[in-house]
């Protein structure tokens, strides 16, 4: 009496009113349950990602409050214009990702593919700019390690005379005259911490971008060959959630790393 029976509806295909076709996996009862499971699952995974990057941000907060001056000076060494370009690229990629999801929802295969393609292109653009930035830092001995040496190159080829106008006023004449010896001014370890955090955070973010490219390409490929799995829009939406998250991380990284050093136009 107390047990009633529910009909099983496993493995059936449900056409969406909007156009996409979804298949119910065996462990789910209906498509609503399946879709929301994926969304909640992805969000709880993103919670772990938030906490993961949160650890880096935590470290950043601690050392920025500990060494505010050095962080400001060291931040001036980053190329805020390159960062601006990258933010632009990532936001654009987020827009095209959002459109990819929308087209997948509507079951528009070719448009989905086009949008995924644009997203991937943007991602490669982002990595390209990042590579240029990294190689500049390498050339300037700003990669933490035994070769680290921070002397202000003044971001955009600033002349040595430029130095006096910057943050620290009391540079003694012999160090500013020496050209390459401003160590008395900027503690090397503190600067190395900034660049360590710069490389750790942007590097981890970069790894996420690369994973994003792989995911996008994989699902793009499935859509291309019209695989059964790719008729469902939910996987694309999942990739989208991930990609937007990567974007959000950058939204915070950009001002914290590039813009705290009073950039000049």
């Amino acid at each position: 009496m107390s047990v009633q029976v529910k009909q099983r509806r496993r493995g059936h295909v449900e056409p969406r009113p909007e156009g996409a076709v979804q298949e119910v996996a065996h462990q789910f009862e209906d498509i609503g349950q399946q879709n929301e499971s994926y969304i909640v699952g992805m969000w709880s995974f993103l919670v772990t990602e938030i906490m993961f990057f949160g650890g880096i941000f935590m470290t950043y907060i601690v050392y920025r409050t500990k060494y505010p001056q050095t962080f400001t000076i060291a931040s001036g060494e980053l190329d805020w214009k390159a960062g601006f370009l990258n933010t632009l690229i990532l936001l654009t990629s987020s827009l095209s990702m959002a459109f990819a999801v929308r087209n997948a929802q509507l079951g528009k295969r070719w448009r989905t593919l086009l949008c995924l393609g644009i997203t991937i292109l943007c991602a490669f653009g982002f990595l390209g700019v990042k590579t240029v930035e990294y190689s500049t830092k390498w050339a300037h001995h700003l990669v933490p390690g035994p070769n680290f040496h921070f002397s202000r190159h003044g971001g955009e080829q600033a002349a040595p005379a430029d130095r006096g106008t910057s943050f620290v006023e009391d540079a003694s004449p012999e160090t500013s005259g020496g050209g390459a010896k401003p160590e008395g001014e900027i503690p090397q370890h503190e600067a190395q911490l900034f660049f360590g955090l710069y490389f750790a955070s942007t590097g981890l973010h970069g790894v996420h971008v690369i994973i994003g490219i792989i995911l996008l390409a994989y699902w793009g490929g499935l859509v291309q060959f019209n695989a059964r799995a790719a008729r469902d829009f939910i996987p694309i939406e999942m990739v989208g959630l991930y990609w937007h998250f990567v974007d959000i991380v950058w939204i915070f990284l950009y001002p914290l790393l590039y813009l705290i050093g009073s950039p000049k136009l």
Partner: protein, 557 residues
Amino acid sequence: MDVTTTEPSSARKNYLNWDHSWQSWLFTLDHKRIGILYLISISAMFFLGAVAISLVRVELATPRGDLVESETYNKLFSAHGIIMVFFFLVPSIPATLGNFLIPLMIGARDLAFPRLNLLSWYLFTIGGGFAMTAFITGGVDTGWYFYTPYSSTYSNNQVALTIIGVFIAGFSSIATGVNFIVTIHKMRAPGLTWFRLPLFIWAHYATSVIIVLGTPVVAITLLLVLLERAFRIGVFDPALGGDPILFQHMFWFYSHPAVYIMILPSMGVISELMAAFTKKRVFGYSFIAFSSIAIALLGFLVWGHHLFTTGQSMYAGMVFSVLSFLVAVPSAIKVFNWTATIYKGQVEFTAPMLYALGFIGLFTIGGLTGLFLAAMAVDIHLHDTYFIVAHFHYIMVGGALFGYLGGLHYWWPKITGRMYPEGWAKLAAGITFVGFNLTFFPQFILGQMGMPRRYHFYPEEWQALNVLSSAGASILGLGYAIPLFYFLWSLRYGKLADANPWRAVGLEWRVPSPPPAHNFDEIPIVVWEAYEFVPEDADEAEQDREAMPGVPAGGHE
């Protein structure tokens, strides 16, 4: 793990015998089989961790360092800690019993993401492989918490490899956590509301929340240690302007809640055992349910009590101290409610119940000694002594491990379709209890006398207590070994179990033992409350079981 084909139990297709090929095991998406894979892996890990600590206990039988050198000693206790914490206790109950039982208990055919579940086991195995490689190729001597700058700058052994192993195992635990959260939210059978759920499920939900919120933080922290080792970026090295206490903060932000990852599932098991062996609804159901959530959330706010003596601000210490006292409240609520459940119940002293009763006593001792350590002034005396060691072993072994063993006995008939030998099991439970107390109670006294942990020699006057502790450890080892033998024995020779050998309630007892691969022929609709025992009218309960489609009433086949 095969069930022999000559036995009648194999007449019915179940999750164990529908396919015997190794591929069907290694590529299985069935939560029950993945649970078994985990069971085998973590048992192997437990064995390795136990071997490491046996050597430590043998060394400590004499005051001189005569068996191993100090360096080897450091590597042994580090291996013990790392294996037991990251590769045994964290996955122990969730990945085996949780994996096996959650879908059965909530009336689902599988976890929400079966492939993620399999991936989790592979990640665990790969992580374990890295850690094992590290131990074989030189070992690691940092202790399980990798304190910087020793681990990041000075230690010249396999820290990097070990950290990579722990990092990967962390992802396996995250995968499990995400899977459980979604499954418990979305896969419950119709009618199975939150307050009809078994408390085991509540405990696992709370555990999963901790896993998801905490594990990534330790992952990034250990990654920073790796980066520090590779590039000397200096985040945790005071010589380079970094702050080692930041490492401790971020490490314990995960690793203190991780204690609750280990103990909460065990508490869930105890709730089930209490109901099943007193034949009563658990007293204060909603209090126990909410105290799980409260422990999960409050547990995140107390980590600073690990830093009382390491340079944390005194004010922060005071806040953390008060919060640490607070977390005792939900834990005590649970203990009181379990005790109240026994009152006027029909208590059956089966082996699982013996473990459960042991849990309550030992957990109470462990918890109360924890309050000593949460008091700042007392902690300064007891910090890094054997008192701490005894305290957390009362929680981890007396609590988490007893719950695990109790649960394993209780659900063994469901998992394998065979009963374990009750007499031997009771004996083993008794031996474990005696051996455990003999091992760790002397350590409270040693710690109070000031014996510091992690040294391989000590003054003569502490020898008597240390010998007692080592003797207890060998009894404890015997207590662990006996179940291993009779569990394996029971796979072939054990009495066949019917669907519900304990006459317990709960959806998992309404399917045959062992369950079919798809769990439920039809998804049940739940219209009864949790732990609804019907003692005066047993016939009706029997009818219920008969009415359940696909379940033969009153016995096996």
